[in-house]
Amino acid sequence: MRANLNDSQQIAKDVSQSPSSLFILWREMIKDKLALISLVVLSCILLIVYGSALFLDQDKIVKVDLLSIYAPPSAEHWLGTDYGGRDILGQLIIGARNSFTIGLLITLLTGFIGLAIGLIAGYYGGIIDNVIMRIIDFILVLPFLMLVIVFVAIVPKYNVFTFILIMSAFLWTGKARLIRAKTLAERELDYVSASKTLGTPDWKIMIREILPNLSSIIIVNLTLNLAGNIGIESGLSYLGFGLPESTPSLGTLVSYATNPDVLQNKWWVWLPASLLILVIMLCINFIGQALKRAADARQRLG
């Protein structure tokens, strides 16, 4: 009945737990050198990519120039050209912008859906929860990659938005599951019972009481998912079932390497894009892992 804390728990209890999880996470994260460096690098990349994309003429970049096919790096084309004589650097910048933006949009959309459904399933429980969980379990056992490819292949009027929708239709499930599990745990805590007895309506309890207590988990999850989504998008584009051809992606550049000659001898075509994907994903992941450690540590203390 009586929970006697042992001493180490007591110490933990005394360590101040600040209310603003965002602030705490931020403070803990910038203590982590690797994460801080990642943040700086990522900001630089994004600044350059989004900044210079403003001055680049996409039509000019995707225009075929037969006079300079597979040109190695030179003063004119810093990173050389591809089989159509198109500038790699330009494609790299546009591709990075597209990949990142689309990854972000997918993350936000799935985050929103997952949050709403997870909160509802976890908070109400019972039949609602049962039905939602059955659906989620079903979607999770589907061969995700295959189905996305099939959808991409058969959807009429395929464009960037349909791509985002198709991806989101599968990817919200993981988040919904996570949020549901956490909501289920929070729901059992007495502060939620207290709110109910005080006459607070359910939607307000979900949004004002429970949600703030999930914020750090959500932030960590969204960060790690952002990296994952960029990876999935570029992977699909690599296979040729990602962004439509009119929208260059980093994956498209890498896909030129399916030609063994390009892979072996024309490294400038595929290597920079591969490295850029790697660096972006590493940076986001290091930030995400640092956030996760900060959140875990806080959870242990709290």
Binding site: M1, R2, Q17, P19, S21, L189, D190, S195, G199, G302
Partner: protein, 308 residues
Amino acid sequence: MEFLKVNHLKVYYPIRSGFFRRVVGHVKAVDDISFQLNRGETYGLVGESGCGKTTTGRTLIGLIKATAGEILLEGKDLAKLNRRERSYHRKDIQMIFQDPYSSLNPKKRVLDIIAEPIRNFEKLSPQEEKRKVQYLIERVGLHPDSIYKYPHEFSGGQRQRIGIARALTLHPKLIIADEPVSALDVSVQAQVLNFMKDIQTEFQLTYLFISHDLGIIRHMCDRIGIMYRGQFVEEGASQEIFNNPQHIYTKRLISAIPNVDPRKKQEQIKLRQHVEKEYKLSWQRYFNAEGKAYPLKRISDTHSVAIL
């Protein structure tokens, strides 16, 4: 008229089993209990874990749905009210929770925690609201400036008092206190118990005090109901229960409390052995074949026991 009357309250949970998860039976968390509270008294609900005392308290306040039975507050059946009426009557019953850590949202300031019910039921300007919260927080013995702090900045006893302040904001008539001190250290327990006694007279409160600790129940309560497996086995005034227990379960419970006087150690052990012998010998007098208690039988004006 009784202040609160509970008639044949039942809370059952289905047990599912077998291939198709059919309902094969019920866990009878609360199995047909009836009792009443008089205005201004402290009624103690005692029993061991799993006896249904917490479920009873949570059902009264509406956190758990009753399977059957009536809950009459000043003559009105709470279960039959529509949504709006129920939310209005909700103000009359409030709750103090067991765990001072989980019962306060760690992400909210004390001001927002205590003002939550005000925002639900009353439209006050921010100044009025703040004044009201400060009045309450001072009343529970905390500094008025502490309304801008977060729960983690307070000790267990202080948090429990913040919880009480929150329960008081709507001027309730009945407070259900579910193990309000069992998560606290002895010295802090005293603090909260004294305080609860003080505000009882000041705010004219009726308490339903739920606890497993008979020492605290004896200290706080005027009347006591003993619960065992979802049913009442004995009910009566505090002195009657402690000085003249009738049901074997009550006797076991009371004899099990360790005595704080080491010189009475042997006496206590003998008493316990004696009760245990009686329990084994006269089991059928107190429980039916399923191990359930019999219906309560009145043996004096205030004292009822569940015997044949």
